[in-house]
């Protein structure tokens, strides 16, 4: 029987700032090319909870402050549902602002704390306007796959992981969570938080396939092995940046 995945895209109208919709395209096309059907649920402000519950894979990107506030209000209402989905092990990818928002709080430069969803045990603080944003091409190593992810980071906030929360990977080049501890992102169950955009999935097809495989295995409760695709352009695009960063991938 033909397999299918439902991809939930949280707040595509507001949380879409760094080309993050590319991640959705990549998941859709890499499924399509393997004859796997996909459906995308666009979960905008005031979305129907039934739609969220029907998803096999969740994506959420970053935004500007104003947009993020509007989203925070909406998502806080639906926190329990999102939390139970994440706890159940439904795979998800949460980028930048979305990643911060899963944490306990975001402390602004003026000391004011904005509450997060407290699903990931982490917090973020912004050291103030005089401190530089962390911007540039970046690479980190995801241990489980022994795979180097390549992308671009651009964030003012510094994120610190709490007890028992695994990082997504170790920084190879760039700043990572906070420019101090050499860690990037976080993993909780099958949900991944990261600062890497670019967007992250097009240039890291191995990780894109990992998410697809996980989502299918959980949905169909069986071992899945995905057909190999021709990733020559992906490889060349990765190599171009790796060369510039002076790293081997």
């Amino acid at each position: 029987m033909k397999k299918s995945l439902t991809i939930g895209w949280l707040y595509p109208e507001l949380m879409n700032i760094y080309g993050d919709r590319g991640n959705v395209f990549v998941l859709q096309k890499r499924c399509k090319w393997r004859n796997i059907d996909t459906k995308v649920k666009y979960l905008n402000l005031g979305f129907d909870l039934k739609d969220l519950i029907s998803c096999d894979l969740i994506l959420m990107g970053g935004a500007q402050d104003k947009q993020q506030q509007a989203v925070a209000k909406d998502l806080t209402k639906n926190k329990d549902k999102l939390q139970s989905i994440i706890e159940k092990g439904i795979p998800g990818l949460y980028i930048c602002g979305a990643y911060q928002f899963l944490g306990n709080f975001y402390k602004e430069a003026n000391g004011q704390k904005i509450k997060g969803l407290s699903i990931f045990n982490l917090y973020t603080q912004n050291p103030g306007e005089d401190t530089k944003r962390l911007i540039g091409n970046a690479a980190f190593k995801f241990g489980e796959l022994d795979y180097t992810l390549i992308g671009f980071e651009n964030h003012g906030g510094r994120t610190f992981l709490g007890k028992n929360l695994m990082p997504f990977g170790k920084v190879v080049k760039g700043f990572g969570n906070n420019a101090e501890d050499g860690l990037e992102g976080a993993i909780y169950k099958n949900s991944f938080g990261t600062y890497l955009h670019g967007p992250i999935l097009p240039k890291n097809p191995v990780f894109a396939d990992y998410l697809i495989q996980k989502a299918l295995e959980i949905k169909y409760k069986e071992k899945i092995s995905l057909e190999k695709l021709d990733d020559a352009i992906e490889e060349n695009a990765r190599l171009a940046i790796a060369k510039r960063l002076g790293i081997e991938i």
Binding site: F25, I135, F152
Partner: protein
């Protein structure tokens, strides 16, 4: 003091040009400002010149050129900065170069396109007579920051002015809202042409929340991106009625995005009492600014360059090329400092809805593979040649008689392409 600065600056820039070291566009200004921080303000206040600042993400260079063309036709003299020299030093340099050897600036208008982030500094040092605000889109987030930050800085800067005339885009919510910071002397341009509009929101539209109360805006129609007929159902803020929304002549540039630039230029011209006939005659002879729909002849073929430096300008260029029946497209993507190091914006381009199957596409530039990857996921096949010169040659070779090549480069790629095609450097 300023007299000496001008004389030395003029000698310096003449030498630079004489020795062929470049066109000397920013150095004299850099030196002038380090000797006297208020050089620009003092020089402009001493002369009778009226200052016009143009800001916005897209269309500054074109709007500046449109206005210059009209002023010239009306026998008005202007000093202006080159695009790419849109920081204070570029402005000081153009003042030095345009001043007479007696140190005086004898011009009617000083016309400056200004970098988004440099605008507050400009306002502080010169108190402009006119400010034209074109639009505000996401652009080089790694360099400029997010657009809410930019608009709030602009608003603060404008609040310090009182005798300035503001010319604003009514269709862009955040731009129109700038009127609140100056209340008087505000004029609006916008579109009122249903045939150009669509009812659905394009991807990547930025200003869809009310700039006053952050509620989601409702749009009666969209012209492109978030430009359209908007209103807030919660606080009642709505798109102001434009003072100018139509042209009574055929526009000298293609595309809806160009219409806004032309409306802005014409509204300004009307405001300074240039008569309609002069405006019309001037624009009939208008030649595009370099790289902005400019056509260059190369190896007996016509090549038209559409600068495409952010998702919105790329979408608009691509739609315009399609409307013109373009089949052969070369996309050049670089990631040098003026382009922004982050190319993630290419995923916000609407290739899926604009490209047609029969187009022959080549990608080139430092990030050619990123662009090829973007197109792959739009299921469009692209040839890849990272060297720009070779890419142009290959495309030209395969052109049929009378076929045209359309090049869509981002900023540094445009300079590079143009240098290959004309054999000359601009900056």
């Amino acid at each position: 003091m300023n007299f000496l600065i001008i004389i030395f600056g003029k000698i310096f820039s003449s030498l630079v040009r004489l020795l062929n070291l470049g066109n000397g566009s920013t150095w004299p200004g850099h030196i002038a400002l380090s000797l006297n921080k208020d050089f620009i303000g003092q020089t402009l206040r001493k002369s009778k010149v009226k200052t016009v600042l143009i800001i916005g993400t897209n269309g500054k260079t074109t709007t500046s050129k449109l206005i210059r063309t009209i002023l010239k036709k009306d026998n008005l003299k202007s000093v202006y900065n080159m695009s790419g020299a849109n920081l204070l030093n570029g402005m000081a340099s153009s003042i030095i170069i345009s001043s007479k050897w007696d140190g005086k600036l004898k011009k009617d208008f000083a016309l400056f396109e200004v970098d988004e982030n440099a605008f507050p500094l400009f306002v502080d040092s010169i108190k402009p007579d006119f400010v034209i605000v074109l639009n505000l889109f996401r652009d080089q987030l790694d360099r400029y920051g997010e657009i809410d930050t930019i608009s709030s800085n602009w608003k603060k800067a404008l609040e310090k002015l009182d005798n300035t005339t503001l010319i604003l885009n009514a269709d862009d919510p955040q731009v129109a809202y700038l009127a609140q910071s100056l209340k008087k002397n505000v004029l609006f341009f916008g579109l009122e042409d249903k045939s150009l509009s669509s009812s659905s929101l394009q991807h990547g539209a930025d200003s869809i929340l009310c700039p006053k109360c952050q509620n989601k805006l409702s749009f009666e129609c969209f012209y492109f991106s978030h430009l359209g007929k908007w209103q807030c159902d919660k606080c009642g803020l709505k798109r102001p009625k434009p003072n100018l929304s139509k042209l009574d002549f055929y526009p000298p540039l293609e595309g809806t995005y160009s219409l806004y630039d032309i409306l802005a230029a014409v509204l300004f011209a009307k405001q300074i009492k240039v008569n309609d006939k002069t405006i019309k005659n001037a624009l009939r002879e208008f030649k595009p600014a370099f790289g902005r729909q400019e056509t260059v002849s190369f190896m007996e073929k016509d090549i038209q360059i559409f600068l495409s430096k952010n998702p919105i300008s790329f979408n608009e260029s691509l739609s315009t090329v399609r409307k013109l029946g373009g089949k052969n497209i070369l996309i050049v993507l670089n990631d040098q400092i003026p382009d922004g190091l982050d190319v993630s914006w290419i995923w916000d381009i609407d290739f899926e809805n604009i490209l047609t199957k029969n187009m022959n596409i080549m990608v080139s530039g430092q990030r050619a593979y990123d662009m090829a990857l973007r197109l792959k996921y739009a299921e469009v096949y692209a040839h890849i040649t990272d060297n720009v010169r070779n890419a142009i040659d290959k495309m030209i070779e395969n052109l049929d008689k009378n076929e045209k090549l359309y090049v869509l480069p981002n900023y540094s790629a445009m300079l590079e392409t143009r240098e290959i095609l004309t054999g000359k450097k601009i900056l």
